[in-house]
Assembly symmetry: C2
Homo-oligomer: 141 residues x 2
């Protein structure tokens, strides 16, 4: 979503368009990796000292709720991480040592999900897939 689109989106969803919400949206947009609430907060206080961590959590909750942002849990650290919901479906490959994240464009699961739906009679709404291992640099050691 473009920067101007997000403002309209917020308005049409009855969410006030505040400075904090726009800043957090901008930070998420310009972050390629998965980012924690704390790290968003740290970036924010470099821009504008009066922001609170609870506001970050509250805004992230709203964004997740509206589907603008995806929340997941970083393996190893018990922390939640966030990212913009790029609508092109994609997954992550995470280095267990340096925590580097690489985006994987194609997803092999669509057909698999259909088969599972038939087998189980569930209605499948999504999935969660992360690959992990060691990146070229870390695997040497």
């Amino acid at each position: 979503m473009e920067c101007t689109e997000i403002k309209k989106f917020l308005n049409t969803n009855g969410i006030k368009n505040t400075k904090q919400r726009n800043l957090i949206y901008d930070i998420l947009s310009s972050t390629k990796n998965l980012i924690t609430a704390e790290d968003i907060y740290l970036k924010l206080i470099n821009i504008d000292t009066s922001v609170s961590l609870s506001t970050v959590y509250r805004i992230l909750d709203i964004f997740v709720d509206k589907g603008i942002v995806l929340k997941s849990n970083m393996i190893g650290t018990d922390k939640n991480v966030f990212e913009i919901n790029h609508l092109e479906h994609e997954h992550h490959l995470i280095c267990l040592k340096c925590k580097k994240v690489v985006h994987i464009e194609n997803c092999p699961l669509t057909e698999f999900e259909h088969n599972v739906e038939k087998d189980t009679n569930f209605s499948i709404t999504g999935h969660n897939l992360e690959l992990y291992g060691y990146c070229p640099e870390c695997k040497e050691k």
Copy 2:
């Protein structure tokens, strides 16, 4: 792993074979769903009143470390869940409403992982896949 095998395994890995460790192993073995540390603790105090929650966490850490147990994070609740590492590779389908868990036997990712290894030059050691949606009962409503 059989009940007797686990004892040998612990011994050969320099881990003392205690009552608590065996009880926790038994609970995990007989639990089909994903289970939290707290729920393991609750089952334990029904058997033997003097067990502590921190011991549960400590033992789970060891089991995860040795690869006997898998740890993951339940979507929606920010809690970690545990299960025996059945060596037959499998995944879960989780109902977002009632949290029912269904096991999915086959995994479509082996070939995909090889392709990603080639593309990225990572050494991939594993992956994390959960499907989610609504189960036959919950999807009606």
